[in-house]
């Protein structure tokens, strides 16, 4: 049938597609080994060197290229992402749990939450700075105004993930626990939560990733101290140097490592949830 012809064509297409996706990354990686400090972020490679990697860690003699303002910005990005992750996951779990029962206005609330992922960062950022600056007269900080806007963005994702998980959740184990005299809160802690944990992990990872790289919302809502993406954006209008690329490679490698950790945690908790499915199949 046609699929004998179509499948290889699509396979080749997908390969080209992946190359298309990775193109910039390859270029970026190659250029990160550009000679420094004179070498610029373009071809040709004057000479291969690890100069820019050393530059990031401050291991090179001072040059006219300013080092990336990493230390503080990195710390702020990580902390902000962590705070966002915790808050939006907690909100996501609570809200998804509420949606297990039909309640009045659930349709409105659903769209209210999902709206957060549909409004582009420029708008929420703008709105937040208006709120802070012109109405409340407060200063904008990464840990207040930016934080709050990040959660607005990541909470809907966490919510949808938890909603999908809870929809598939068989509540008879909870009813069993209640029938044994265990309070609903205790049941949640000891029965429900352990079983939905893989979903919670996914939600947390999602939220962290989204917040860590989040840029447009932070641009407006951050105030003076910068997060990492803002620091990088700052270099846009000025000349860019391969140190940015070296940094990009490093962070990608770091993300790989994080994924490995996540995969391990995931596999361990998915085993538990699989038992439940198996149990039902046998029964």
């Amino acid at each position: 049938m046609e699929s004998r012809v179509l499948k290889p064509i699509l396979a080749v297409y997908t390969l080209l597609f992946i190359l298309f996706l990775y193109g910039p990354f390859f270029v970026l990686a190659i250029l990160s080994f550009q000679q420094g400090p004179e070498g610029g972020p373009q071809f040709p490679i004057i000479e291969w060197s690890t100069y820019w990697y050393r530059h990031i860690f401050g291991l090179t003699p001072p040059s006219r290229v300013a080092p990336l303002p990493l230390g503080g910005a990195l710390f702020r990005s990580l902390t902000l992402a962590f705070m966002t992750m915790v808050t939006s996951t907690v909100l996501g779990v609570m809200s998804a749990q509420a949606f297990r029962r039909r309640f009045r206005g659930s349709g409105v609330v659903f769209y209210l939450i999902v709206l957060g992922m549909m409004v582009p960062g420029v708008l929420t950022g703008l709105g937040m700075s208006l709120l802070a600056n012109n109405i409340l007269g407060i200063e904008r900080h990464w840990w207040s105004t930016a934080f709050v806007t990040h959660v607005v963005y990541t909470f809907p994702f966490a919510f949808l993930v938890m909603l999908a998980i809870l929809n598939r959740f068989d509540s008879s184990v909870e009813e069993a626990a209640w029938s044994l005299g265990v309070s609903p809160w205790r049941t949640f802690r000891k029965v429900t939560f352990p079983l939905i944990f893989p979903g919670v992990l996914s939600a947390m990872l999602f939220a962290f990733t989204l917040s860590y790289d989040e840029f447009s919302r932070t641009l407006f809502a951050s105030g003076r101290d910068q997060t990492l993406p803002l620091a990088i954006y700052g270099t846009f209008s000025v000349e860019i140097h391969p140190n940015v690329f070296a940094f990009g490679v490093l962070t990608t490698v770091f993300s790989f490592a994080l994924l490995a950790v996540y995969a391990i945690l995931m596999t361990m908790s998915v085993q538990r949830a699989k038992k439940m499915a198996l149990q039902e199949e046998i029964a």
Partner: protein
């Protein structure tokens, strides 16, 4: 399993517990999402002088926007680029989604492929945007490769610092958001349906037109909404790749805020919101998403 398990269980404590569970999330969104957006509308009518802004209501900023060619052009540019990127991501992404979602039978392999598509996201968005510069420039990677292969004699100059470069950059960055949802919907198609259609004598194009594509439509809509939201709110890619030639609504908001022209920024913000609302409403007309969920 009792079918009443599908209806939510009740501990007989009544509806009150739903309220305290949903209240924090709902209040958070109302305070930090709805209020700011409403504020944008409100501020767009404020009076803006060179040095300060005050709550006296006026249409002045609105008149300035619609009276200025530059601003109107940016609206058209934004819409144009949005449409082009939407179509390109769809055209480029659909075949991949078809392959990953429909043709790859092995679940692990399709997950791996999707993960491969997601990995580029772990390089900071901005850095990925920047990486296009050395690719598209006169001495960029693409030109070097094309010249080495003898396809062109002179480097193509139009690749960088034009509208084309913005489109290329955006397409590459956002196409995954098309592939994901479409692949997901295609993966949910029961292969027996396709088998049955083949047994009835339909050829692949017929099957595609009548079965596969319609079933993938919710994924197309979700992908379309994601891409649209991101492209309409874009400004970084345009800033990095077009050398200030391409001015999107997002760029205007950023520059206006930069010079503290809040009222103007809000006017553009409202216009952007209206465009977004229309786009999303339009998409939701195509497919009733709530049913699919």
């Amino acid at each position: 399993m009792s079918n009443t398990a599908a209806a939510a269980p009740s501990t007989n404590t009544g509806k009150s517990s739903s309220w305290w569970l949903i209240a924090p999330g709902a209040i958070w969104m109302a305070l930090f999402l709805v209020a700011p957006i409403l504020l944008i509308v409100y501020v767009s009518f404020w009076t803006q002088t060179t040095f300060k802004i005050e709550p006296t209501l006026t249409f002045k900023s609105w008149q300035t926007f619609f009276g200025s060619d530059t601003y109107i052009n940016s609206l058209w540019t934004t819409l144009r680029i949005w449409l082009i990127v939407l179509v390109t991501t769809f055209v480029i992404g659909y075949p991949t989604a078809l392959f990953v979602g429909l043709f790859v039978k092995n679940k692990t392999l399709s997950t791996v492929l999707l993960v491969i598509c997601v990995i580029p996201f772990w390089t900071s968005f901005l850095i990925r945007v920047l990486a296009w510069r050395p690719m598209l420039g006169k001495e960029g990677a693409i030109n070097i490769i094309l010249m080495k292969l003898g396809i062109i004699q002179q480097p193509i100059e139009a690749l960088l610092f034009t509208e084309l470069s913005v489109v290329i950059g955006m397409t590459q960055i956002y196409v995954v958001f098309m592939v994901g949802p479409i692949a997901f919907m295609l993966g949910r198609i029961d292969p027996n349906i396709i088998e049955a259609a083949r047994d009835l004598g339909a050829d692949f194009w017929r099957i595609f037109r009548k079965i596969i594509f319609p079933l993938s439509l919710p994924g197309v809509v979700v992908g379309g909404i994601f891409v649209s939201v991101m492209v309409l709110g874009e400004f970084a890619t345009a800033a990095a790749l077009s050398g200030r030639k391409v001015n999107l609504l997002g760029n205007i908001i950023v520059t206006q805020v930069g010079s503290l022209k809040w009222a103007m920024a809000s006017v553009v913000g409202v216009i952007l919101t209206v465009v977004m609302g229309l786009v999303i409403a339009g998409f939701l007309r195509i497919v009733d998403l709530k049913r699919e969920l």
